[in-house]
Symmetry: C2
Subunit: 140 residues, 2 copies
DNA sequence: CTCGGTGCAAACTCTTTGCATTGAC
DNA sequence: GTCAATGCAAAGAGTTTGCACCGAG
């Protein structure tokens, strides 16, 4: 039971400086990040990394099911989050694109009207759209 | 019995052959379509259209809030659907990427733990992930 | 007739790939 | 020392844009 260490570093995956930086960037973020954002965070913190390496590392994490790749609306860039946060859901502001993490999962007690024989449900995504406090105020 | 007035054609938007074809393609589909799919459907039905025009028309529909742009997981291409179908939700097969429309909305009775003063909720998206009947069978 | 819509090709952005070099085990 | 990981640059996919021509109102 070693929870204090990296909870979900993929078994047998080499720990290079770059990979640990990417993992750490994702770990420290409450919301999904794009490859470019991760690249920026790491570069700003003084570590050398190339953008293509960021993409390759993210691809590894996704393949090893340590992370998920997703895409938010009104943006064509892929976002990545650790599986640990996979079950988090978000409210997204249509104006400033701010992402707010939801506290509870609306689907906790939901049973889809899809029989298990038709579709084997493994996970889900929920997103709310609207305007955040600031943008709502600006509109009026 | 054809509706002379399309239910949600944006007010004041010129009705060109190409625009009506795009609208009709979206109208006839139960699931969101990519620009390329729309282009194919229209081309196959014998109407000349260019891909960039499809993109421009979709952009118009989105700007006029007649359609929504979204992106499904494990695909980097944007998908479009008429607002009329905006409230539809889907189950997506992780193996064959088939999209199945859900019959009911799991959020119908959901009140988010976000006060209205913090975020003005206008809409939502729900997606289930898993394996469809066929792919589930193949795995075993 | 006018002005917005369209087609084409080129540009742009995000992402992936080939290849030589580097570094973790 | 070996083989996978990295950096760089170039290639790809999807999408957007500039410009001349076309066609709906």
């Amino acid at each position: 039971m070693l929870n204090e260490k990296q909870d979900s570093w993929p078994a047998g995956m080499k720990k290079t400086k770059q990979r640990m930086c990417v993992y750490s960037a994702l770990e420290q973020s409450e919301i999904p990040l794009s490859a470019a954002e991760i690249y920026q965070k790491i570069s700003n913190s003084g570590t050398e990394i190339s953008l293509s390496t960021v993409y390759r590392i993210l691809e590894c994490f996704v393949r090893e099911t340590a992370a998920v790749k997703t895409t938010l609306p009104q943006s064509d860039t892929a976002m990545y989050a650790l599986i640990r946060r996979q079950h988090a859901h978000y409210a997204i502001c249509l104006s400033c694109h701010k992402i707010i993490e939801l506290e509870n999962c609306p689907l906790e007690n939901y049973v889809p009207h899809l029989s298990e024989s038709e579709f084997h449900v493994l996970g889900h995504r929920v997103e709310l759209y609207g305007y955040c406090k600031n943008c709502e105020a600006k509109k009026n």
